[in-house]
């Protein structure tokens, strides 16, 4: 409180206000400065702190030389005329030069025009380098702060009054910004790709191999891999399989995809059937080429290739967040005519690796000539093995993985289940393959938003039955599920919920603000044409925004009274004013009220009000009760 009071009473000099602005606009840029330039900035700050007199021209010259040196060292190597054509490098150079020039001017401790406008240049430049949720918040904060500083400067350094006024102005402009943002025509180029490199943490994607031993992919992490926004609500839990890669080849300790994967691209895929569904995906950097789509994809994702196995890939591995919209038909199977190669790849097995399984599989094949029934029997067989699903399995015999899992350890997780299931299916004469991807957890979703986490990584089996590839959830055959201890210590239910809501908000902001585009705009308009209720809601929310703006403005524009009591009295005073009783220059409030009362002998209540007011203000009887009493009296008076 004491700090606030001193803050209220201190008047800031223009230079101090300018410094605050510079600190705020330079903060994000500092993150991208190279070490020599950072050192230069550090030197400048040190000089400003320890030397309180203006620098002489020799000093300024020295600073200039130092700045040029820092600039040279920072851009050494990257600096060539060819390099300049790259926009980012050019902008970096601009930032460096601006920093040096501003530092030179700032050290003279004189404010000139260029020093005043440079914060805006920094602000505009920083927009080239950063993009994302954080920057959005920061930009709004920066704009407000700059406004605040300008107004405080105009108000002679009074930052408290400056804050109120800047709040008013900010609120005046907010509805305009919203309306302009939504309706301003966006006929522009593609969204540029340079810039923001904040998200460099690598997500564990699937790399087209699946290990069964200690290299196995097992990441019980909460990190978000992708965020999915459905058009309507999230589809049922049992359909949330996101396909990644497909594995055909059993290499004892791991599975691999087809080496000739590329060949399959040329072959067209057959149209999938099922409940059509549309959704938006934000995929975080995986450093891999796979895109993930719900079973079964029905359309090519833009800029990617969808092959006959319904696997989507991009040309270059994904190094920054990727947004795509996808279409799928919700179904557990899809039609495909197997070519020889695929048939071969999905039927190969080594019987001597898993002799025990082979014997059992042969038995099944003989007992169930019908392929569909055989697959069912396979499932039953797995169930009969009393398998345990656990994230902490015992080590398997690498040379006999399926035998060892099915008959010895009987403990494992998705990879073990899927791998064994596929092996045994092949042994039983059913073409089969492993699909890896994500099985999203329905519980994580909120409304139409579904985040997919690293721990949702999954592997399942696909069996070729009667011209269809059919999904088999191998882990569903587990008889026991061992509780995962690791999950227990993770955050409580409530914080999870809050976290989920935060993620949801972030996702919505990103889709509707950061990735708002011409297409979105058209979509919105199209949608509005057909949905009058949506238009009504939209208009209502705009009105709500206006009202909110109005409330905030009137809050900050409210006149200031020296005491709470006097503020309470305003209702009464306004009424008297309305009745054309104006308070004269030399009148005290008491005299004014008495003059009124004299003319209105019936309104005796005013004497009580006057007396109570006098007691509160002058006799130090300022208690809550008295304040309340005064309020009640005034209300009563106004009603009369």
């Amino acid at each position: 409180m004491k700090f606030l009071n001193t803050l209220q009473n201190t008047k800031f000099s223009s230079l101090a206000l300018l410094d605050i602005s510079y600190i705020v606009v330079l903060l994000p840029l500092l993150l991208m400065l190279k070490i020599p330039m950072l050192f230069f900035v550090g030197v400048i700050i040190a000089i400003l702190i320890f030397k309180s007199t203006p620098l002489k021209s020799i000093g300024i010259l020295f600073i200039f030389m130092l700045g040029m040196l820092a600039l040279y060292l920072s851009l050494y190597g990257a600096f060539s005329f060819r390099g300049l054509s790259r926009l980012k490098l050019f902008l970096e150079l601009l930032v460096y030069i601006l920093i040096i020039v501003v530092a030179m001017q700032r050290l003279t401790r004189e404010i000139n025009f260029y020093l005043l406008i440079s914060p805006f240049l920094f602000l505009a430049l920083s927009l080239f380098f950063y993009y994302g949720m954080l920057m959005l918040i920061y930009i709004i904060f920066e704009l407000f702060l700059l406004l605040w500083m300008i107004l405080s400067h105009r108000m002679g350094g009074d930052i408290k009054e400056g804050f109120a006024s800047s709040m008013v102005m900010f609120m005046y402009s907010l509805p305009w910004v919203v309306v302009l943002f939504i309706f301003f025509p966006r006929i522009s180029f593609e969204h540029a790709n340079y810039g923001f490199r904040g998200e460099t943490i690598q997500r564990m994607g699937h790399d087209g191999t699946m290990y069964l031993d200690s290299n196995a992919l097992l990441v019980p992490s909460e990190r978000i891999v992708m965020e999915v926004g459905f058009e309507k609500e999230i589809p049922p839990a049992h359909t949330l399989y996101f396909r990644g890669s497909i594995l055909y080849i059993d290499k004892k300790d791991h599975w691999e995809g087809l080496a000739i994967n590329a060949k399959r691209e040329t072959k067209p895929f057959y149209a999938t059937t099922g409940l059509p569904i549309k959704y938006q995906v934000t995929l975080y950097p995986t450093q891999k080429k796979w895109l993930y789509a719900l079973d079964m994809p029905s359309k090519n994702i833009k800029n990617s290739i969808l092959d006959r196995d319904l696997i989507s890939t991009v040309e270059k591995s994904i190094k920054e967040p990727l947004h795509y919209s996808a279409n799928s038909s919700l179904s557990a199977k899809f039609y495909d005519i197997l070519d020889e190669e695929t048939f071969k790849a999905s039927s190969t097995f080594e019987s001597d690796h898993n002799p025990r399984t082979y014997t059992k599989a042969q038995k099944l094949q003989k007992s169930y000539p019908d392929i569909e029934k055989r697959a069912k029997a396979l499932k039953h067989f797995f169930k009969a093995q009393n398998l345990t699903y656990t994230l902490k399995p015992d080590a398997l015999d690498i040379n006999h993985t399926t035998d060892s899992f099915l008959f010895d350890t009987r403990r494992g997780y998705c990879v073990h289940f899927a791998s064994s299931f596929v092996t045994m299916a092949r042994m039983a004469g059913i073409p089969a393959r492993i699909v890896t991807g994500y099985k999203a957890d329905f519980i994580n979703g909120l409304k139409n938003y579904l985040p997919v986490k690293e721990k949702d990584a999954h592997a399942w089996a696909e069996l070729y039955i009667n011209d269809y590839w059919v999904r088999f959830e191998a882990t569903a055959t587990a008889s026991f599920v061992e509780e995962d201890n690791q999950e227990v210590h993770s955050s409580s239910f409530l914080s999870k919920e809050v976290n989920l809501y935060l993620m949801y908000v972030k996702y919505q902001v990103e889709t509707w603000i950061l990735h708002y585009s011409h297409i979105r705009q058209l979509q919105l308009l199209e949608y509005a044409k057909n949905n009058p209720t949506f238009v009504a809601i939209f208009v209502m929310s705009l009105i709500t925004l206006l009202l909110l703006t109005f409330v905030i403005i009137s809050y900050f524009k409210r006149p200031y009274y020296s005491s709470k009591t006097l503020a309470t009295m305003q209702a009464l005073l306004k009424r008297l004013k309305k009745e054309k009783y104006l308070r004269e220059d030399e009148e005290t409030l008491h005299q004014y009220l008495i003059r009124y009362a004299y003319k209105h002998p019936k309104k005796t209540l005013i004497y009580d009000i006057d007396k109570l007011y006098e007691h509160i203000i002058y006799a130090n009887e300022n208690s809550k009760n008295k304040q309340k009493e005064l309020k009640i009296l005034i209300k009563k008076f106004l009603k009369e």
Binding site: Y561, S562, S563, L566, D585, E586, T588, L589, H590, Q591, I594, E614, H615, I617, Y618, A619, N620
Partner: protein, 307 residues
């Protein structure tokens, strides 16, 4: 009229008013000055009742009354007293001057020489006089009501502002209004008036003075008071601003005036009421004439209470 005198004091005022018809406010203000522990300077032309007021007031308060008529040849010893040689006892004996009284009327104080004036004024301030290194304490309460002729009168010595500062208030009684004057004219001459009965004793006076000094000044009022003081110093209207002694006098008067109305707290109205009389002899406009009304008008049209 923005005040109501407490029933404790109305009989006193009533009694004095029989001598000084139509001057209730003047009487009340004089009482307030007395209870505030200050001294009063009356500036008036002769014959409007300065002496009558003093006499009636002293009688009503039950104080012993002393009077000094100042003349140009008066010396300090004429007021304070002298050491004279008593031949019978063979020693110097102090003969008390007229100042050793509770209620002193210093009539036409500006007729005497500055030296004599200052002797009285110093005694007023300190309550002690020292003659030949021996200190004598004055009576308590000690109240001086000085009168001063308007400046145009010839052969007078203006009181310097440092001396004026020692009076808490100054005002003039002025002519009575029409009705009051008519009543006076009907009523006849002074001799017919009976002596006023003493209405308070020393204890009561002391308790009232005690009450006056313990009147509450709220923060709001102090803010207002300080704004007024700052205005006198910073507005550039006056030659000098209000001194700290002047500010103290103002607070004391505000408290006393509030007490006179039977309140235990002072309000902005009280301050408005007394500011003029406290400041009239302390402030001087740089240009034009200085009057009580002009001062309070200038101040209160610019400094507002309750805002």
């Amino acid at each position: 009229m923005n005040y109501t005198i407490s029933p404790d004091f109305t009989p006193i005022i009533d009694a004095i008013e029989t001598h000084l018809v139509g001057k209730r406010e003047t009487i009340a203000l004089s009482l307030a000055t007395f209870f505030a522990g200050g001294h009063l300077l009356l500036e008036d032309i002769p014959g409007v009742g300065k002496t009558t007021l003093a006499k009636a007031l002293s009688q009503a308060l039950g104080l012993d009354f002393g009077r000094i008529q100042f003349t140009s040849d008066m010396l300090p010893s004429d007021i304070l007293g002298v050491n004279y040689y008593n031949q019978k006892e063979g020693d110097f004996v102090f003969k008390k001057g007229p100042i050793f009284t509770s209620f002193l009327l210093a009539d036409e104080i500006n007729r005497s020489m500055p030296k004599t004036q200052s002797a009285l004024l110093q005694a007023m301030e300190e309550g002690i006089i020292t003659i030949d290194q021996i200190s004598y304490t004055l009576k308590k309460p000690f109240f001086v009501m000085a009168t001063q002729n308007p400046y145009e009168e010839v052969g007078t010595f203006l009181l310097p502002s440092s001396q004026l500062d020692r009076f808490m208030c100054s005002f003039s009684i002025g002519y009575p209004d029409k009705d009051a004057e008519r009543a006076i004219l009907k009523g006849g001459s002074k001799e017919q008036l009976v002596k006023t009965q003493a209405m308070l004793d020393t204890k009561q006076i002391e308790s009232f003075m005690q009450k006056a000094s313990s009147v509450t000044l709220s923060d709001t009022l102090l803010d207002f008071l300080q704004a007024i003081i700052a205005f006198t110093r910073e507005s550039g209207l006056f030659e000098y601003g209000l001194s700290t002694r002047g500010a103290l006098a103002l607070t004391a008067m505000v408290k006393s005036w509030a007490m006179l109305q039977g309140r235990t707290y002072a309000t902005a109205d009280d301050l408005q009421m007394v500011t003029g009389i406290v400041c009239a002899h302390r402030l001087h406009f740089k240009e034009g004439t200085t009057t009580m009304l002009r001062i309070s008008h200038e101040i209160f049209s610019k400094i507002h209470s309750d805002t």
